[in-house]
């Protein structure tokens, strides 16, 4: 286009810019509206689904877990708040808050015995024992979800993986790699000896003793000098199932 000089030219250019912007805005608005509509449809469908399967979601742990997975995929967190539609509709929020409180209770109750580290399986078993009267079954997945909600409290509830097992930590102790390896080793028999740690992990004697002493100080291990071979054994209540019974007794 030939350049048009003068004030008229400038005005035309400005008018054209305005026109373009207006058009752009219209297109954007159209898109947003469309998006909003889609979201609304989606939301109502999800609500319908949740309403329809309310009982399944409440009672069937496997179904509940799948529902959560689906929600996570589309970016909805039914646990994000206790208020609002999801909690009201499903009562899911309360369910997990209740579990959370019970988990804290169990962790505190068994802490003197296991030093604040408990097998997830064990925790789940204790939780079920305690909720005998409640109608809903509780799965490990539910425990994990409830624990993830506890993180908000900043009290250091965390799930750590040691070997094949998951352990729930309720004390702020940091376990380093050495400690984890020892715990993993201990899973086989429930205990380890210094000698075994040195041999199986190819550690120096000092390294093994150091790590074991720390675990002992943290209350995660107990010594046993009573075996005939005279070798000191370090037992880990968090990997043996005994914690269930000792814990249950005192609660």
């Amino acid at each position: 286009m030939r350049r048009r000089p003068g004030i008229g030219g400038l005005q035309t250019a400005a008018a054209a810019r305005d026109q373009y912007r207006l058009l752009g805005e219209n297109v954007a608005k159209l898109r947003t509206d469309l998006m909003k509509e889609q979201l609304a449809t989606f939301r109502s469908q999800l609500e319908d689904f949740a309403r329809k399967h309310k009982n399944d979601i409440r009672k069937n742990p496997a179904f509940r877990s799948q529902f959560h997975e689906m929600c996570a995929k589309v970016g909805v967190d039914p646990l994000a708040s206790n208020k609002g539609f999801w909690a009201e509709l499903l009562g899911i929020g309360d369910f997990y808050y209740e579990l959370g409180v019970q988990i804290v209770d169990i962790c505190l109750g068994t802490r003197p015995h296991n030093g604040g580290l408990i097998n997830l399986e064990e925790l789940c078993k204790l939780l079920c024992q305690r909720r005998k009267s409640a109608r809903e079954a509780v799965s490990e997945d539910d425990c994990l979800r409830a624990i993830s909600k506890l993180k908000v409290l900043g009290s250091g509830y965390e799930v750590i993986s040691v070997g094949k097992r998951k352990l729930v930590r309720s004390v702020p102790t940091e376990l380093n790699k050495d400690h984890n390896e020892i715990l993993e080793l201990a899973q086989a028999q429930g205990f380890v000896t210094v000698e075994e740690v040195e041999r199986r992990l190819s550690w120096s004697s000092g390294r093994a003793t150091d790590a074991l002493e720390t675990l002992l100080d943290e209350g995660l291990a107990m010594i046993d000098d009573g075996h005939r071979d005279g070798k000191r054994r370090y037992w880990f209540p968090c990997v043996s199932s005994i914690s269930a019974y000792v814990g249950a007794e005192t609660m």
Partner: protein
């Protein structure tokens, strides 16, 4: 669950490290608590009044896991009971320990209730009658240890609830209640 006669043993009894004195304070406190409760429970249900730490005692070893308490551990647990008033060493060498699953005061209360339940408020009874007579059968006083009984009776005498009188032999010792 493992049993000793009709006594149900707690699960910790099967966990080997509980038979070794724990070096870490918190763990040890928990360990002592469990053992103290076990000893008192066992003695109460089995009516055992005296434990001799140097001798065999069913609680002090668990053949199933091949563990037994060291002499030190036995003494530590019993001493912990002593410090709580739930036991007393009977000699300086700590060879015999009197287990008070009821404190002397509680035994005295039990005697008073026994007296009232049987309308013995002004009666005379021998010590042996209290321990093995028909009236006490089925109560906790039945086959009570003589030392414990005498201690409780002396406490009551002190309070003016009864008078202890001596006969010609120990068998003749008796009390006159005046509740």
């Amino acid at each position: 669950m493992q049993k000793l006669g009709d006594f149900k043993l707690p699960q910790f009894f099967n966990y080997p490290p509980y038979f070794t004195l724990q070096p870490v304070k918190d763990t040890r406190e928990k360990q002592m608590q469990l053992w103290k409760e076990l000893i008192l429970d066992y003695c109460r249900t089995q009516k055992i009044f005296i434990i001799e730490p140097e001798k065999e005692f069913p609680l002090f070893s668990n053949p199933a896991i091949e563990r037994s308490l060291s002499h030190e551990a036995r003494e530590v647990f019993l001493s912990a009971l002593v410090s709580e008033g739930r036991a007393e060493w009977m000699d300086k060498g700590h060879r015999k320990c009197l287990i008070l699953w009821h404190r002397i005061q509680d035994w005295a209360d039990l005697i008073l209730r026994f007296v009232k339940d049987n309308g013995l408020e002004d009666s005379v009874m021998t010590i042996e009658e209290i321990r093995s007579g028909t009236e006490s059968r089925g109560t906790e006083l039945h086959e009570i240890d003589r030392t414990v009984l005498m201690r409780a009776l002396k406490l009551l005498e002190h309070k003016g609830k009864l008078t202890i009188f001596k006969g010609t032999s120990a068998d003749d010792e008796g009390v006159k209640f005046s509740v």
